[in-house]
Amino acid sequence: MTALVLRQFTATSCIGRGLGATLESLRAQRSGLAPCAFETVDLETHIGEVPGVDDVQLPAPLQRFNCRNNRLAQLGMAEDGFEEAVAASAGRWGRRRVGLFLGTSTSGMLETEIAYRQRDPQTGALPAGFDYAGTHNTYSLAAYVHEVLGLEGPSAVVSSACSSSAKVFGSARRMIAAGLIDAAVVGGVDSLCLTTLYGFHSLQLVSRGPCRPFDIGRDGISIGEAAAFALIERAPDSLDGDAVLLLGVGESSDAYHMSSPHPEGRGAQAAMLQALGGAGLTAEDIDYINLHGTGTPSNDSAEGKAVAAVFAKRERAVAASSTKGATGHALGAAGALEAVICALALRHGLLPGSANTRQVAPSLGFEYLCANRERPIARALSNSFGFGGSNCTLVLGRAG
């Protein structure tokens, strides 16, 4: 594929608002996970809650979009000059030539959950103020961001569970290659709600304590929330050496089970190989892998086998870690959040160690980082896998 440049990117999660705070937390190996005191949830678990989401005010004409997910989107977009960078891109290419592709799994679901507690006792009706299109619908996230950024190009939400906001990079890449657009805003926003907290609990996939990816005693995920965005464009002929490029995207399906990964990570291998092939790279060229690494016994086992198989021929073991011990699993926002973490790793030469992992599972076939490592790197790979057997791998690299 033709390389695309990440003109601007930003991330907001429980470890920080914007790139500066996120980098500082990664450097300190600080975890944002804390015992759950969210809303009326009565589960014994840790979560990665972003502070201050409910204090965010949406612009007055856009009140119909007011829900936790869009407040988190607003909080995230306001960081790192992201809105200004998009405005400049729209000025350069034209508003109709900038696409918008965002991932979310539950959108404004929390608003609907609360509305169901406030049904009319006689008629069962939802409260009059409940706005389906602005908050509940899966597209409400992109509808809101479209309005705020003043874009007029193609727009869609990808909702393929936990691979959603990695797959948006693939949609944007194809639309740019097809000549339909010149630039795209991609990203993911997913926010805490009862459906995912109780739902993952019912599947016995949630840890009581902070999640411990790739730990020998790992026992489940910690649910987090995040807003992460990138503005991607065709790469110009000359770029600053610090610029971050999207080099490859791989997408596959497990065709195995709705909520369990293929035990050998068959689909994960296919996604990684496709991303490497599209980038014109081999396993030898990758300096760091940001693993999906949710902390469930089955995900980490399957992903570990898949990575070991794809990277088996390397002379030196590849360095890898999951950052979900710090951020929690941001579900539909995880792909974009971890793409931004890879971009920070490339720009600052920081390979983040895995927060909360105490004793790494044995014989992984790659080097799982529990401590930070500082060294310049050229290329990073990021994995995102979701329910329904939906897999996506991104390869990012430095321009110079």
């Binding site: 959950e113 899966t138 869609a156 393929s160 290659a177 459906t195 109780y198 399906s253 709705m258 329904g388």
Partner: protein, 272 residues
């Protein structure tokens, strides 16, 4: 400015259709073409083929609807679905499951059913499709509210045009029970599917070319009032002006709803 105009084009190799009074594409095409009268009946949902019994029992109306339309299109194209990338697009996903989960979470006992939870994801249809067909190629699950059909078609055409592979597009919509139904009234399940390919084969029917058009001009309407009502009520049925061209085996253009400021103009011609 772009160096050259975007070229989003594909050959149509198979069509699937399920809707109220529209049992399949072969019989539905005669109605959409205006050759037979339209008489709406509740949408008949076929049992999904290819799923193991345990998985089949877990599928609800939404998955049956999407898989039914997709299986028709694949059969018409005579193509092996195992290697086919798939684009599924829907505004609401599974409305019944969403309602049931919200009811549970509003009750004293918040224990959500695990099967219901993993079936609640927007990509459930895509997931069951890969289980039913063994398809390991990429699949995606899109939502663009009332523009979900056009968004799905753009995604599928970009896949065909850029990656040069045949693609399944399936746009589908079921409905919500009350109280969500009052907030999002969707009358009857409707789904359509297309197999789109970069080059013609013996199964090829027509060539489809699409372009975005910045206009506030209204999308094309259908002459039959019942079908026109379906078009405006169901996001997946926004495809009906295109299906009418295909049903009448006509060359020509249809204007489809997309975003507020843009329409998707689709042109149907011969595939050479």
């Amino acid at each position: 400015m772009p160096a050259q105009p975007p070229l989003l084009t594909a050959c149509i190799q198979g069509i699937g259709l399920l809707g109220p009074g529209l049992a399949d594409w072969v019989s539905g095409a005669r109605i959409i073409a205006g050759e037979e009268a339209y008489s709406p009946q509740p949408t008949a949902l076929p049992a999904p083929e290819g799923l193991p019994a345990a998985e089949r029992r877990r599928t609800g109306a939404t998955v049956k609807l999407a898989l039914g339309a997709a299986q028709q299109a694949v059969a018409a194209a005579g193509i092996d679905p195992g290697g086919l990338p798939a684009v599924f697009s829907s505004s609401g996903g599974d409305g019944l499951i969403c309602h049931e989960i919200c009811e549970t979470l509003a009750s004293a006992d918040r224990q959500v059913s695990p099967t219901r939870f993993h079936n609640s994801v927007h990509n459930a249809a895509a997931g069951y499709w890969s289980l039913a067909t063994g398809a390991t190629a990429a699949s995606t699950a899109l939502c663009a509210y009332d523009a979900s059909f056009a968004a799905g078609l753009l995604e599928a055409l970009a896949l065909v045009s850029v990656d040069r592979v045949p693609v399944l597009l399936c746009a589908y919509e079921t409905n919500y029970p009350e109280p969500l139904r009052a907030k999002r009234p969707l009358p009857e399940p409707f789904a359509m599917a297309l197999i789109l390919a970069p080059a013609p084969t013996p199964a090829t029917r027509s060539r489809l070319t699409a372009r975005l058009c910045a206009t506030a001009t209204a999308a094309d309407r259908l002459p039959e009032p019942g079908l026109e009502a379906l078009r405006t009520a169901m996001p997946a049925a926004r495809s009906l002006p295109l299906l009418r061209l295909l049903a009448r085996r006509e060359r020509g253009e249809a204007v489809l709803d997309y975003t507020d400021g843009q329409r998707l103009v689709v042109e149907v011609g011969e595939c050479r």
